[in-house]
Each structure stands twice: as structure tokens, then as C-alpha cells.
Symmetry: D2
Subunit: 489 residues, 4 copies
Amino acid sequence: MAMTPLVCGLQLYVGFTLRVFVNRSVTMEDIQCYGFDMDYTMAVYKSPDYESLGFEMIRDRMVSVGYPHELLRYTYDPSFPTRGLVIDTAFGNLLKVDSNGNILVCSHGFRFLKGVDVHLYYPNKFIQRDNTDRFHTLNTLFNLSETYFYSCLVDFFTRCNRYTNLLKGFQHGDLFMSYRSMFQDVRDTVDFIHDTGILKERTIKNMEKYVIRDPNLPVFLSRIKAVAKVFLATNSDYSYTEAIMNYLLENNPNAGREKRSWRSFFDLIVVDTKKPLFFAEGTVLRQVDTDTGKLRIGTYTGDLHAGTVYSGGSSDLICDLLDVKGKDILYVGDHIFGDILKSKKRQGWRTFLVVPELTKELQVWDEKKGLFEELKRLDVFLAELYKKLRPPSACCVCLQVLTYRMDMSYGQMGSLLRSGARQTLFGSQLMRYADLYSSNCINLLHYPFNYLFMINQTCMPHEAAAQHAADVASAELARTNNTAMMGRN
Amino acid sequence: MAMTPLVCGLQLYVGFTLRVFVNRSVTMEDIQCYGFDMDYTMAVYKSPDYESLGFEMIRDRMVSVGYPHELLRYTYDPSFPTRGLVIDTAFGNLLKVDSNGNILVCSHGFRFLKGVDVHLYYPNKFIQRDNTDRFHTLNTLFNLSETYFYSCLVDFFTRCNRYTNLLKGFQHGDLFMSYRSMFQDVRDTVDFIHDTGILKERTIKNMEKYVIRDPNLPVFLSRIKAVAKVFLATNSDYSYTEAIMNYLLENNPNAGREKRSWRSFFDLIVVDTKKPLFFAEGTVLRQVDTDTGKLRIGTYTGDLHAGTVYSGGSSDLICDLLDVKGKDILYVGDHIFGDILKSKKRQGWRTFLVVPELTKELQVWDEKKGLFEELKRLDVFLAELYKKLRPPSACCVCLQVLTYRMDMSYGQMGSLLRSGARQTLFGSQLMRYADLYSSNCINLLHYPFNYLFMINQTCMPHEAAAQHAADVASAELARTNNTAMMGRN
Amino acid sequence: MAMTPLVCGLQLYVGFTLRVFVNRSVTMEDIQCYGFDMDYTMAVYKSPDYESLGFEMIRDRMVSVGYPHELLRYTYDPSFPTRGLVIDTAFGNLLKVDSNGNILVCSHGFRFLKGVDVHLYYPNKFIQRDNTDRFHTLNTLFNLSETYFYSCLVDFFTRCNRYTNLLKGFQHGDLFMSYRSMFQDVRDTVDFIHDTGILKERTIKNMEKYVIRDPNLPVFLSRIKAVAKVFLATNSDYSYTEAIMNYLLENNPNAGREKRSWRSFFDLIVVDTKKPLFFAEGTVLRQVDTDTGKLRIGTYTGDLHAGTVYSGGSSDLICDLLDVKGKDILYVGDHIFGDILKSKKRQGWRTFLVVPELTKELQVWDEKKGLFEELKRLDVFLAELYKKLRPPSACCVCLQVLTYRMDMSYGQMGSLLRSGARQTLFGSQLMRYADLYSSNCINLLHYPFNYLFMINQTCMPHEAAAQHAADVASAELARTNNTAMMGRN
Amino acid sequence: MAMTPLVCGLQLYVGFTLRVFVNRSVTMEDIQCYGFDMDYTMAVYKSPDYESLGFEMIRDRMVSVGYPHELLRYTYDPSFPTRGLVIDTAFGNLLKVDSNGNILVCSHGFRFLKGVDVHLYYPNKFIQRDNTDRFHTLNTLFNLSETYFYSCLVDFFTRCNRYTNLLKGFQHGDLFMSYRSMFQDVRDTVDFIHDTGILKERTIKNMEKYVIRDPNLPVFLSRIKAVAKVFLATNSDYSYTEAIMNYLLENNPNAGREKRSWRSFFDLIVVDTKKPLFFAEGTVLRQVDTDTGKLRIGTYTGDLHAGTVYSGGSSDLICDLLDVKGKDILYVGDHIFGDILKSKKRQGWRTFLVVPELTKELQVWDEKKGLFEELKRLDVFLAELYKKLRPPSACCVCLQVLTYRMDMSYGQMGSLLRSGARQTLFGSQLMRYADLYSSNCINLLHYPFNYLFMINQTCMPHEAAAQHAADVASAELARTNNTAMMGRN
């Protein structure tokens, strides 16, 4: 059955904020199975309302367990945090790093540290990211509110003159508050909010305010299901999944006349997946009784019935149930580690990363790409200066200013993906592990289902150099020939 | 003191086989310390003579411990193995994989498996590289001879009709020879050859035949030492290091009139480094008595004297002794894992990977880049076909043929760095961990010591798309304007 | 100050059920600090009421999440489970093992397996206890109710003819219920009951029913505090600790006229200790605000004030705060692993294990020790038979019958500490790690505080043999002499 | 077939130095398979000649690699070291500890530290044995020479006034020699001596001097083989095994008239076993070509032929080949960890520990058991003093003196198995893991093959107390009755 894309296939005509971008070529015709995460993938939360809600819950709980009331004055500022930042729990700093652990940006509370100050903390401007006991990477959009709240904490205690600033925390009379214990308190609070379900409860009560419902979602899933198998694999529990998916699909204005269960859009639904464990040994697979929302005791061993809901399991079990192999699956998720890196490295799945921030990133890039061009020109100029053995100091300052200006266009912490000319850890992971990425999974709708997502073949540095040398030579040849020809004329 | 490079600084004029290539910009002016590995870095072994020597030692030893005499008929064939291949000890296959574990090429003995056959072994055409108990990556040039010998073994037993072929090995009467035990025997043999020192002995006896002596090495090191600290850090023991470095530097025709100890070229010499352990906790640091070649008992605690030789230690100790920080060091080595990945990830050093194969890689690329261009054109054509919903099967065959032709230009296993349009594991590690790379460390001589190695800033796919859209728009605008203008005319 | 014990010091006069038993000599005069666990140490729960309560909560919750209603018919039977049993989650068996993993008793549900049947599951009658993924040891009195409930589950499904018995679980139509998943469900349910605090709530509401209040406890603690430092270290949270300790000490009829806070009995109180982690790296130490029950933010760094309550921390921190060393501390607890083994092996503390079951064990022993004597005589007889090369089969049967009769005197699973002549895992751990043990910590009151708990020095087998040989020889000598003397008369 | 033991079966008549001692009853009739280690089990090395040889080789090599020539003055002193001591590589001390890590004896070089001095190093008189990076336990008789040599080293440098004593080592000008690096040097030297085979070479050259040949060994093995399967499992290589076993069995004066291969005494011979790995995952099993001594390539898969020699493998493979289960095997070895603990804990085998030191231990015990009796009496007296609240200080000194006198009867480090009344780590491991033990494996010959090794059933402390109370009561009753009866008369 030939599919008609909503928007015609010529890529040029897809507005670039709606596009799917390609790190490794994917022939959609070969994809026999689509898997989706739910949170921030199917269900995108409204920013900054949702993050504000999370922030306030953390803040209020922290105050209620004894943190100073002055903290209540802080409100969520979406311009500050980005995903992929690293908290150094020893010194209370927030770090933006590249894939090798080199520090790109460092803030202490809301104060951004200059190079010399960064050196005081990190003599080599470098961290050993493997030390996960000390360094915590905030990989998901759910982490934005805690990232921001932790900065508020550091900001407050640093400024408050009741507290003395020490290297590893604050002293107040007989009391020592380490950055580490403050981080632990924030983590415990976040766990409390998730475990008690109070954030979910508030979300469900006010769906319109917190969850984006894309009117095209029913059409999108129907079309996929017509050509391939479809599954949902979420770490959320069944009752929340039910509430969210019901809102997205059954109550969708575009849901169509005939009432259709949201579960009928999927061949298989798996909740409580415990990703990333799901992509390794997994847990026991249980069937969910969709009437009561409770787990059936025992494990279902019969044939697959469409729309059946399971809890737990593993990616291997899912492949068995759906009778597909890793390479046949395109898995769509928002979690660079739990969804994308793990499914790629452990199982060899095709991956599609949803990056909601991309809409803004593209916008800023479009407006400010002049800065990047300038940066490139300055690089070349700087290289020339070095070749001519001239002191390049003024030029370096220029570079820093440009990088800073470029960063500031994105927000206080700069872009999710780069700092000036350098790529962030998140950016490099996106390029390594996500075959495709886009601001929204529904953007797949703009492409026919037998589309070939093709990378622009790039050369390695030595190949490019060889290429360049050849081009120059042939240009030279052409010039000579031309001259010769001209001479002839 | 201003340095005059042997070859003038404008990069264009450095022949591209002599160039240093850049993955991340490095300002040489900031480098205060140069570190060098010895084997395949300072001392490049002559290929294929040296690999042949290793191969024969392995082969003869294996026969002497009981493997069939028919194996003596095999000789080393440099056109077969490349670095970075993976041995699957379960099935006896040699694999070329990309950074995510997807299989690019698979051979069994000398037979290259077709897609369908690969699927029989690996249903997902994918391996979990983390399973190091099963999969062994052959990262160094020293591994070439054993890689080849293992293929000879598999080839022999597969063809020999005394043996029955089973999935995991060969049966011969009551005897079962698993691929795994054969691999273990090869490893044990290689260890025997290294531990007994017989390979080193043969090498030292015939230096001219096995070791390349670059006449520029003394000049190169002298120049570096004039502007920065220099150290040698090798896993070899002292006596071998002494023999090799003496040959390279003291017996060098360009060594200069005044007799100068090879040790005087270095501020610090460390042998028995046990890399990669050296970049982590390391071992006890001992001083070597250069008269006897024996270790001094105890650890030296005084000031650093130039040319002192140590054994063991760790990268942290070296930084202390030389009073430098990780970012100040450019470390030059040939081992992608032990030298480059570890010094970069654990210590944040600047890294320079020596890739002797690069000379040939560049040569082939230069000759055959037409194939790559064709590959790119075919990709575009294929994408167009998909957009127009036409069956692309013929085109796919073309792609495979082109990829195969391109691979064959490099050797039977194809390029070290790519397979058609896809990058190998080795290639991707080179790009991630080596700031600079070149076919020979001495190529640094072609650049002034305050050179800025600058990367060509690249855009991420979404940025490139935005760029492209803008270009098209402005081209369109220009066209319109032109037309308008033309209309005006 | 000389202490007058409640009961005079001559050990003989302490009824043996009130005694403290000795595995390694302890000079009480050297003990400078007493530490106590709370649950089952200070606060002993009334058996079987408390276990019944736990059992019913587990049972009801399991039924409410979907397990068959028929399970409601089961009630707690205190004669079945003992501490220290091992669940084999693969086959659903309950095992009693010795310290080396040899199986002493094996039940499947309530059916006790005979030797041949045990061999079917365990060909070597042996388990590798290290495999903690498969084998779960139920070390605490809290585990009794789940131990029993798991046996009820296995019993029910084995008998119910709706289910087919398979090696690793039960099949019911399309549903497979593995022993492993059933065990997981029980564990999850127990966690639910503890995490939600519903068991604690019910306990607090009906203290009289569930908690034994020893009238001597205030006197006991006062006396100790007069001669040494005293601390409480419990894994329970503050509010539960407050409720329990208040009941035990402040509402105690013997509390004395003057109202005295329970906290004043201790120099230091630590809740949320997370033992066994507490004896290793521990967690952050926080102060508890005893007015609100909430944690103070930050860590207290000042001097120690008596009765201050902390949360978390580690044994090292406690030693620092109290200024004592490991050997100065006698730690009294009921958890063989979390309290006793860890404090002994990691910290070198003196240990006192509370074994409430000991009252009954001693009672049975007293009544049935004739059986043990008989067992010993039978052993000797058997050995004689072997020496005389006679077939001992009838005798072996006798031994089994005797062992069975002895076991049955204790309960269905036999004694906590032995099975016939062989010691259980629990028994051997008690002897290795507990310096002292008793049925109740308050039994220490029967001894003066400068008492010397002395072991009866025992010989190793070869020493005993040498001893015996000497005794025989001297007896022989004596006999000869006697005869001689008699002859003289 | 009924066996006639060489010595009649009544245990009393077996001289106690020839006896087998029992920790757990073993019915020999059930043993279907006997396994033997070779070194120090079948082949007992002559003490102190063999240890002296090892000592001299270590000493000479250390001097030849640069340690001071004065060390050559040291000679081996068998009265100093015992097995089971622990080296603290941080402080250079030699420790004798109990099973929980409490320090019993501590020497620095040859100086024995008093209590206060021990406290300076170990404030709690306790070590965390788990820290195997710091603490090395010297478990085998092979370790005696290095134990002694390490003490010589510490002794020399401590006394030599060229060196300054520091906490962690010695300073000499610019050179620091840590205790840790000195320990590493000794270990490396020992490895060198074993790897190069020079110790084995010297042993083989002078068998009479170094190896005890028991004339009864052929008879012993023949008798066992008549009733059970027999295997040899040694970590030694084939050529050494061949030399030793040939000397023990073929050249044995009692070997009998007909020439019989030593291999014919065994059903299976396994060399290169790599115990303790052998009792876990093991290595590849290879057949040894007994003509050439080389490994056959491949793995033998056919039936078992008596006397076949294998290399590698694992205990599981051995059970398969011999068709026996763990409980059917009695494994006889001298290595408490590699042979006994591992085979018992991982595989549930029956175990027999050979303790050559036992001959002397028994001799000393026999002579000095009066001291132990005195110790026991003093204990009782001390306990009485405590009860009567009298200062026991003089008595404590007495205890220490007695303990010291008892220790000195065994040697400078005291007994292998105890220190005064307390058991060593080695002693407690012997009791936990060895079912049987004896000074020589051949002592089994003194028992019929259907013997029942029976433990003397012992009571736990609380059982003994109950027993005692009952005895007292019945004695009291008897006395009363007697009195009554007497009254009647």
C-alpha cells in the first residue's frame, strides 16, 4: 500500500523545524517495527509550565523538611538550565562538558566562573566523568527543575550572610551543610515526588495545562500500524499511562467518529519497563489487567493479542513476542542514555531521538548563524596569525566574546548541543547513538514510509585534505589550461 | 626563540602524506610537554618484514607444540589483515565492525561471508562488543601477525578433510578443537614470544631489516626539547629500549659530530609503564641503573635529572615529576586504546595518534576517490528513487559493488578506517580520542612549534540543514533578483 | 562504684534460660561503650501475635493484587518456620542448610522431601550459597511471616488442580507462574508493607498486644549508663523509634517517679542507620529535630550532647563522636548478618546476639537432651559396627529416626541451631561472630558489670586425641599401680 | 571386598601422631572417589632443607638485583615462621591473627611488639582482612621461605644505620624504600624462581635431599584404587609431575617386582589445574602427550582411559569424566584456601587437609599440655576473682606469661593453630573447611576403607550449660538420696 505523506516528499519543502535529521542512513522500507517511549516522546510536556510545577514541588517540599523559607522566593527560570549538564556534588558546581570531560562552562549557583576561577576548582579544566559517585549527569527533561533548584540552593547559601562559605559547603554555627548532602536532599525530594505520585496526580488533573496533544497523533499511529508493528514501552506505571494515552488518543479531537481504544493503536504495550535495565537482563514480564489496572499474577505465555498491556520484561522478550530482530526496529525516545544509547549499544536497534529543544535551537541557529560564520572566519584568521608568528592575544579575546554571545543567544547555559565551536557531551552522544533525531516524533509524518533517510557522506580529516589538495591541483590545471586556451585564442 | 620549520608553514605546501590531521584544534604554543611512546611511534617497524618475522615465530611455535605441519606452508600476506579487527572466539570469525558493533565485513578463514551467511551466525548482524570474554579486538600493529595466523588456522582446518566442521570448532576422531581453544593457543604463543624476548632478540640482531631509522629524528627531538619538556613512556623494558633508542638516535647518521647519549634527548624516560594501567593507578616507580640495566631498589625522591630512567609509575607521577598538567601535554602514541583513549579519557591529555597505515590509506584514497564520489552520487540517486517510490533494487546492488571495489583497493579486509561510506570502530575511535593524527610522529617537524592546528568547524545535521535552507532561499532570492534585474535589462 | 547485680554473681544460680552464653571470652570491665539495636533487641515483639499480623498483611495484600482468594484460608502457624532458612527461588523449595551449603532439611510447600526426592532437585545435596541471585537467606525474625507465606503459596498451587505443576512453577491456561516471580511478588509486598508504614502503624496502635515491655529495662539502662557510654543504633525511622522507646521507657511502670525522657537513657541515638551499610561507608549523618521529627538540614559538627538524635552516619562516625574504639564497644543486636557479622568483621566490635528463640530451644533441649545422648551413643555404636565390618543399615535408619524425633521437638523445621548432630548455618554463624548470646539483652542484668564472661577452653580434635591418649595411659598406669598395691595388701 | 588395614582398626591403637582427626563425620564407605594434590600432599618436601633452598634462591636473587650484600649473611631459621601469617605491606609487620582479624602476635623484622606498640600501628588491634591489596596471607608451606626472607629484609634495614626508619619504609639519601615495594620485590622474585623453574630443577637434581619418599605410598594407592576411583590434580606442570611421581612410585623400593608406570596408579591425572580457578570456571581441558610432555591440541572427547594425563579443566569436568558427584569425592590437599576451602564451598566435596606441621604440634602439645591445663585453671581462677570484685591484675600477667611460654614451645611465632587459648585464622579455617586432617595423607592407611570417621558430638555453649545444670541437679539429687539412704541405715 503506497502512503501519501501529509507533506510531499521532497525534503526541501519540509520546513526545517519540522524535519527529521540524519546521523546514519536509515531505509524506512526496512523498518518492520516502531517502538515508542511515552513521556516527552508521545506526550510532550508544556514548557515551562510543567518544569515550573516540578520546581515548585521540589522547593516546597525542601522548605517543609527544614530548608530556609527564603527559598520560597525563587521561581523557575527556563532561560537558565539545559539538559545534559553535570553536577559536581563535591564543590556544588554545575558543569557543561564535552564528550571527553573537558569543561566548557562552569557555574556556581547563578555565578558563571571565569577561566582562572575554573582552574582553582579543576586545575586541568577536566573531570573524570566515570566517577559517577561524584558527578551526576542530568540527562532528561525531567531533570531540568532539579538542576535549577540545586542552583537556587547554592545561590542562596552563597549569598546569605548567616552562612560561611567553605570549599565543600556552608557552615552555620555548629552545622555544616555539604554540597553533597544538599544534592542528596534534592535527589531524595525528587524521588519522593515521583514515588508518591503527586506530580502525576497534578498533571492528570490539569492535562490541558501540562500536556501537548498533537491532533495528528491518531493519524500518525494509524498510518504506521498499517505498514509495521507498533509498540509502546514506558517506565511509567499503567494507571498514568492509561490517563495520558487516553487523553492523547481517545479524547483527541481528530480521533475520528468511531470510538476507538487507545490501546488498539498498538500491537503491544509495556509499562514499568525499568529502562535501561529493560535493554539488558530486564525484569519479570507480567500481564496487566486493564480493567483493574493491577498486574495479573504469573506470566502470559500464549499468542500476542493486539493492545495487550504488559508490565516489566526486556527488549529480548519484546522481540520474541513481536517476532522481530533488533535491526528491524526503529525505537523513538527522548532519553539519550536510557532509550537511545542502551538500545543501540546493547541491542543494535535503530534509534530516533526526540529533542524538543531542537525547535528553539534551530530558531536561534537560523538567527545567529552569522556568529558561527564569524567564529569560523576568526579561526582561519587566527591560524594565519600563528603561521605568521604574530601574537594572537586580541584575537583570542574576540573568540571568547563571540562564543559567549553565541551561547547567550540560547540561554544562560548556552546551547544544548554546543559551546561556540565545541560540541557538548549531549551533542556528541546524540551524533553517536541516534540514527535520526527531530524535535518531535510526529515529524516522521512528513516523510513517506519508504523514505530513505540519507546522510551526507562526510570525509575524515585526511580524506578531506586529500580531496582539497586534488581540487586545488585540478583548479590549478584548469587555470593553466584556461590560460593556455586563452593564450591560444 | 623562533623556530624555522623544515618545510614552510603554509599547510597547502606540506604534501598531504606528510601532514598532520586535526580532529580537535590544538594550539601548539600551549603545549609545554611532549610525551612519546616508543614502539611504532619513535621506532616504526618495517612492514611487512617485521610482521612476517612475528608470523613465522607464531607459526613455528604452534607447529612445535603439536599443530599440523601443513601449517608451515602458510606465509604472511600483508594484503589480508588490518588493525582493529575483532575475533569472535566462539565461531572463529574475523569481523570488521563499526563503533556500535554492526558488522561491516566478516571472514571465516580466508572466505568472506555474504550477507545471508553472516545472518546465520549473527541474526541481527550485530555484536555486543562489551562481551570481551568472547570478542577480542586487535588494536595494535603487533596484532597483525596473530590476526593473520588465526585466519590461517581456520582456513586450514576448514579445508582439511581429516577434520569435521562443527559450529564451534573441528572434530577429529576423539578430539575436539574449539575455535576458542585455538585462539587461546595463539594468544599463549604470542605471550611466549614476547615474554621470552625471542622476537626482541631477533629484531635487535637485525635492526636495519626491521626498524626504520628516520634521519631527522635527532633534529626533531632537539627542536622539541628546546621549547618544551620531552619524555618517553614505553611498555618495553630497559634493555630493549636502550638498544632501539641507541640505534635510532646515537647511531643515526644525522646524530651530529659530538657523541650524545640518546637519553640526553629526554627530560624523563619511563620504561615498563604497563599502559593502560599507567594512566590509572599505575605501579611502583623505580629508578633504573643505566649501567647495569637493573632496577634500583627503592624509589627516587629527589629532584629530576635529565635523562634519568625510571621503571613503572603512573601518569600522575610523571606530571608531578615534570611539573606539568594534563592539558599541557601532547602525548604521541600508536595504540588507540592504551595510549590515546586512556590518556584522553582518564587524564585529559592532548593526543596525537601515529597511524603508519595512513600513507597507504591516503594513496588509495587519492587514486580511488572517484569511487567515493560515485558512491555519494548513487546515494543521492537512491534517495530520489525512494522519493519517487520506485523499486531501487538494482541500485542497491550497484552500491554493494562500489563498496566492495572501494574496499578491495585497500586490501582484502578493506580500509582501516571505513567500509564504503561507513566508518570502522577504529576510525570512529581515532576521531573521538586523537586530537591529531598522522602517518608518522616526525611529521610534526613540518609545522612551526607555535602552530595552530585548526579543525574545519563542522555543523551538526540540523545546523547544516538550516544552513542549506538559508542558502537555497538566498540563492532563490538572488535568482529572482537576477531575473528581475535581467528583466529590467 | 561497685555494682550489685539483681541476681548474685555465681553463674550456677542464674537459671539457664536467663543466662548469657559465651563463644569468646569478654572482660566486661574493658567495655566502655554499649550499643543497642532496637527491633527484637530492646523491643521484642510478641510471638506469634506479631508474626500473625505480618502474615495477614502480606496475605491480604497478595490477594488484593490478584492472587486467588483461597489463600485467605491460610493462617500463621508458628510451629512451621524458623529463622535462617534459605528460599531456592528457582524450584520454590525452603532449605535448611549447614555452614557449607549442605542441605539438612528441604520442604516444598508443607511437604518435607525425603533424601531421594532432594537428590532430584540437588544431585549433590548441596547449594552454592554465594549465588544470592537464586538463594535468599531469611536472617531476621521479621522474615518469619514471609517465609511461612511463601510456603503457603507453594502449598496452595501444588494442591490446586486448576494448576499444572512444572519444575520451575505452575501453568494455568496461557499463564505461567514461576517460583521466582512468586517470590518477587512476596518481596514486593513485604517492601510495600514496610515502606507505607502500615505495619508500624498497626503496631503502635496496639503496643500492649505486639511489644513486650520489660519492667527492668529502665533500671538496666540506668545501670549501664552509670558505668559506660550507651547508644542506640536502629534502621527504623525516628517517629517509630520515638513511639516504641517511649512505650518501653517512659510509660514503663518501673520508670520511676520523676518523669524522664527516653532519650536521656542514651548518650547518642542514631536512627535510619541503614545497617549493614552503616558498618562500611555509611551515609550522610544528619541531626533529627526531636520536636518535629524531621531531619535538620546539614550535619552537626559540634560537641556531643546527651540524648541528641541523629539519622544515618556510619560506625566510624559513631566511634569518633563517642571517642571510643571498636574493641571498647559491646554491640547488642538480633540480626546475625546486619548487626553481628558486619560489626565484627568490618570493625572488630565485641558482639552480643539476642536470640529470642533461645528460651524455647533451651526448654526443648532440657526435656529432650536424652535424645541427643542417645544419638551420641548410637554414633559410637555405629563406629564400632564399622570397625567390625558389619552392615550398619538398621543403625542408620535409627539415626535418621532419632534426628527426626529430635527435630520435631522444636517444630516442623526443627531447631534454629541444629539438625540432629549437625549445626545449621545460623548456628555456625552465631558461634563465629557473636562473642556472647542470650535470649534477651536484659539478661546482662544478672551479671555484675565487671564480670568476666569466660569460655570453657576447648581442644581441637588432635589435641583432644592427645589428651585422651594421655588419660588412658595414666589411667592404665593407675590401674596397674592399684593392682600392684592391691596385690601388696 | 573387605580390606585389612595395616594397623588394626581400633583407634586407640593408632599412635596419635599417625592418626586422622575429624571435624565432621565421614563415612568412608560412601566415598567413591579419592582426589590428591601432589606438592606437600603426595610429595612432602623435607623441612628445613627445602625451605632453606627456597630461601637462598630468593636471597641471592634479591642481592643480584641490587639489594645490599649484607643480606647474604642471613640463613633460614625454621624456628621463626609458621604458615598462615599475614604480611601488612603498609607497615612491614608480620601478623598472626584470629579468624575475625584480631591480632594475636605482631613482629617487625625479628622484634616482637608488645601490646602498647601494637596499638600504635593498629589502634583497635584489629585488621580488615578483606583489604587484600594491603594484607597478604601466606597460606602454603611454599610461602615459608619468603615469609622469613621478608622478615630478614625488615630486620636488616631497621638495624642498618645507613637507613632512616620511617613509618612506611626506609629513607637513604634520595631513595625511599617502602615496605610495600620491598614486598613487591620479594613476590616478583618468588614468581621468577617458580616461572623459570630453577627451584624445580634443583629439586629434581637432588630428590633424596628434598623429597620424602614414603615406602608405603604404592601400597596405599593400590589399595585405594581397588575400592574407588583415584585422581591426581596438581597445579604443577607435566614434566615436574612426571619427575616427582616417578621418584615416589616407580623408583620406590616397595614398588613391587613388576615394573609399573606411576600413571597406572590413577584413573585420571590432571596437571596445570590452576586451583582455585579449577574449582570455579576452570580453563580449557587439554590432553598431554606423555611421550613428549607437550599438550595435544584440541580437547579429548572420548571415553576415559586410565592413566591419561590432562592439563587444565575444572572440577566440574573432572566429575563428568569420572562420573562422580561432589559428595562422593574425598579430596586430599595441603592448601587450606586453594584445595580445601574452595572445593568445600564451591563444590561440596569432602575434604582432607594434610598438615605436615601436625607431627610437631602434637609432640609439643603432648609435652606441654600441662601449660594449657594451667591456663584453664587460671581462667577459672580469674573468673572467680572477677566475681569477688578483686583486682585481677597480677593474674592477667600470669596469663600472658603462660600464653607466651606455651607459644614459645612451638617456635618464635608460636603454634600454627593457636596462641594460648585463642585459635588462629588457620586453625579456624582448618576446623571449618577440612572434614578430616592429618600430618600425612598416608595415615589413611591405618584405617579400613569402610571406616566411619566420627566426630565427638559437641554441645553449643547454651546446651552445655543446660547439661551442666542438669548434671548438678541430678548429682544434688543423688547426694540427697544418698544422705537419706545413709540416714535410713
